[in-house]
Symmetry: C2
Subunit: 364 residues, 2 copies
Amino acid sequence: MVYFTVGPTQLFSEVKNFIKEALTEDILSISHRGEKFKKIYDFAERSLRKLLDVPDTHEIFFFSSATEIMERILQNCVEKHSFHVVNGAFSERFYQIARELGKEPHILRKEWGSGIYPDEVKVEKQDEIICMVQNETSTGVSIPMEVIYGIKESYPDKILAIDIVSSAPYVDINFRMVDIAFFSVQKGFGLPAGLGVCILHKQCIQKAKSLANRGISIGSYHGFLNIHKKSIDKQTVETPNVLGIYLLGKICEFFISTKGTDSLKNIVRKHAGMIYESIEDSKVFGAFVKENYFRSETTIVLESKYGSKSVLDFLRGKGIEVSSGYGKFKDRHLRIGNFAMHTTKEVEELLTSLNIFEEKSLKS
Amino acid sequence: MVYFTVGPTQLFSEVKNFIKEALTEDILSISHRGEKFKKIYDFAERSLRKLLDVPDTHEIFFFSSATEIMERILQNCVEKHSFHVVNGAFSERFYQIARELGKEPHILRKEWGSGIYPDEVKVEKQDEIICMVQNETSTGVSIPMEVIYGIKESYPDKILAIDIVSSAPYVDINFRMVDIAFFSVQKGFGLPAGLGVCILHKQCIQKAKSLANRGISIGSYHGFLNIHKKSIDKQTVETPNVLGIYLLGKICEFFISTKGTDSLKNIVRKHAGMIYESIEDSKVFGAFVKENYFRSETTIVLESKYGSKSVLDFLRGKGIEVSSGYGKFKDRHLRIGNFAMHTTKEVEELLTSLNIFEEKSLKS
């Protein structure tokens, strides 16, 4: 089966070898307090820093999921008020977590499938952070980074936090304009699930400190101050997902080794072009995101005239798995995870299969 | 290298095959919302329930580490006051997490290396929960379950929570006398790190509900109410460590398949006897825990006349890795993880090596 799902998704074929190496090298048995682990941690951190061009102003922290990271950001960076752009299921979750933590979040709600322009965003004076999902896995909306930079320019004093769960590591980020970006590894990195990564400006640790000093709970073991203290020594507070951190370093190294037109970013761009082009004249499939400007290259969401189930079943018969729609669109949408582990041949097979489905269904 | 470390530790040799199976069966790519995952979740839950004899009164929840579970218990079961028996590093952490969360914990502090008897425990009326570490990985103290039942008998209305991180699945627990027991999988289960498991009485979910209803934050995505809601459908709130859950089910099935004198519990008991016996007349090594009654079978802590470093180095030269002491005892103790993945031959090699070290060091 080839997984064009939005995450967990197909592993990079290299990952199987990395796992075998991990087993051979006893990576799953070593102490998380020993030198060997510290080297693994350091390698993962340095490789990721290089891959995503993360400056020294920012720290890299490991968590267990992107969902956890949403919670920890709101605990550590918000005394009372957060501001949320909500245009899909995951931005909604970010907002709901703020509420569950007893914060008082403000919200700018947009239709599912809509993007946002900088001048729509009105952040209130008391808001401490702007929370956005840069690439909405539920809808296939991608907010271009220039929009996000525009918002930061209007509100330079607010912490800007973006979820790049399903666009990393393909989206280019200028970290001078982004305070926090976070993701999990079971999507674009093509790794097993169970690790979240948060890149955050050092000022966020200061913010956590100032909250803690004023007696506001910033959580416990995964409060930014505790994590930061351990991270200096290339360790985690708890026994972490050691395999996950090991694999992250290895896959980053692999990404870095691909260059030029063969770079993994270019592959994703090329395949996204192929997929969107193939449905342009389709009578069955259409892009859910109407504005070209907001269409994601990594999570491509299609409306299907005949619903999702028959298409999913048909593709499965061809050895291809794609994701159904999310939430209220479960039965109407297809979501295609377009990450760089897929070969052009696999993408062609996906498109051929969709085409055959279309011809068959229009005839019957 | 053979890992007699206290965790992460040696994997069961079966685990490598389970991982290969997981790769072959695309377990790392499947959706965490699909039927295949639900079956994996259900199998892990049912197998663990069978292995540990967990009654229907208790739920099983998955987390990312035992440290996380300490936080979630205190968030979800405590409005204000928790009671902690602290006799080592991990019981200290449980207590500190309560403080970091802004609770008002009470403490009964004992020397590292000491156990506790039921009549020493005086819990105050307002305390909502009794928190104990049944098996202290830092010191090798194991509180016999009869002591813990005695405490519960004295305080039947308090929630009793025990950390069995380094004794599971070898310790027998009567869950009619224990409300919460939790562990992580990189110790006695011989699995890769990155998964914590909490077994909790349904009344703990009711407690969380009553806190939430009174406007007290019980956390967000990993609040017991959110987890419980998803668990009914054999799912997790976030994208979990799918491999970890898969491996847990497989290793539980393996444990269940061993019976009689070959049962994995009996193997651990036998090996523990061998290890303690071997140092009885030693002039170099002695058990750190002075009272026999409190000596752990799974984490055996030795004082070393010549400190830990030279012993660790010597053993490493023999292809054996044991853990150093914890915290203030780092340079003075050895900690031996005695779990059932070790063969009797490996234990004999460990003991022979310790004996050679002793003879050499006494001569020189």
